[in-house]
Symmetry: C2
Amino acid sequence: MMNLGSMTVHQDCDDCPIRHRAVCARCEADELQLLEEIKYYRRFEAGSHVIWSGDKMDFVGSVVSGIATLTQTMEDGRTQMVGLLLPSDFVGRPGREGSAYDVVATTDLVMCCFRKKPFERMMETTPAIAQRLLQMTLDELDAAREWMLVLGRKTAREKIASLLSIIARRDASLNFNSSDGGLTFDLPLTREAMADYLGLTLETVSRQISALKKDGVIVLEGKRHVIVPDMARLMEEAGDDSDGGLLA
Amino acid sequence: MMNLGSMTVHQDCDDCPIRHRAVCARCEADELQLLEEIKYYRRFEAGSHVIWSGDKMDFVGSVVSGIATLTQTMEDGRTQMVGLLLPSDFVGRPGREGSAYDVVATTDLVMCCFRKKPFERMMETTPAIAQRLLQMTLDELDAAREWMLVLGRKTAREKIASLLSIIARRDASLNFNSSDGGLTFDLPLTREAMADYLGLTLETVSRQISALKKDGVIVLEGKRHVIVPDMARLMEEAGDDSDGGLLA
DNA sequence: TGGTCTGCTTGATCTGCGTCAAGGCGAGGT
DNA sequence: ACCTCGCCTTGACGCAGATCAAGCAGACCA
């Protein structure tokens, strides 16, 4: 469940759940055997549930391609997204039985999975794995806290700008698509999903996106393709003080 | 920076930063020496900063007594509390240079600290420490996400009820003060601090507390002492579906 | 070519909470 | 006994964002 934080990616292996030389199945010959034995891929269609809140979760893994969301729902239907899973993000809880959240594929999704039990056994015998997971979890915790500030104290316009700048930054670190000076990316979320992430309604999301467009902070091609002519401007709109903000 | 989640406490040792037999200085003779060497206590006055956001943090540790808060602040002064540190909670980031947040003592505070470098060395040689920290961090992540739902989707009244029920639960698990059938505790936070935690203003906090009092959900003795005649009722007001909610 | 469906936009109105402002209450000091 | 200061309460008013409602645009299908 690693999300929102960019991380250093070891270039040689791009579908391992834990992207670090010390624990990567492709890199360390002596660990390869065990990891490969318990490794498998799963494919999910856009809109399908990867796991339901409360269900038993017998695997851990990471997103290879596509996008998934982590959401909580109250009995009356109010829902809050608590995590956004982009390629390379980790899903799962070694040492936990069930999932506390719904994990939903918002696009077609491929995940690289490990059965949980053997993975946990590996964690015990290979300390570097736990340490790597600890670092990833700390990153996620920072991201979650960053998001608490967004949810608790930012205006609707700032919330939208925050979300856009996070997606832009994540996207830019995966692909390298800053072409004509302006950063460019596709929104992976519907207006409703954005609203659930930001604690807003979809109407407010729509209005604020229109406002940012009118003010020239962003340019839209269609409804999903976004061009950011001036990233610094966008981050200013987001109320971000620091340039990077989201920790390395 | 463990907060909001209750955890199993090993009864024999009540001031060790990591409350688990396998890594506790008082329990494991062979580790005692190293831990004791780098262990020391620090005292903070109510209102003083334990660490400033951005400052270098050369220790990790845990709260022995008193209460501290974790807060983020925007340039214009808007602040959001992102964590509440009660006794037994852990503070610090093995593997990180600085702190991303202000840590402030809201009451007089005693912490049990370890210098970071030696602690990190211990983490490498004693795998159980990293694994224990991972579990604690996962708990904290769950708590942060629980709080995202509170911040993003709950009404002011529900927010107050959520905070009260979390404090009540935490308090009850430390002391055993359910006397006359009604649960009882002291608010460790000012109205303003509660507002910063809940993404509200202090006036709204005050009004909603008055409203809960008027409706008989809570009874106040003075401004800080709270009696909860019916915990189930309070949790219903909080919009909590599950009974425990906050994970073990 | 039209029909439907899903995602999105925009307008009108309502309301929960923020903002501004005026005290109240209890602790500690002189 | 009085003053002050920090913390809290309560009231009046305004506004950002929710709610209700109507309609648009593109994808897909028959």
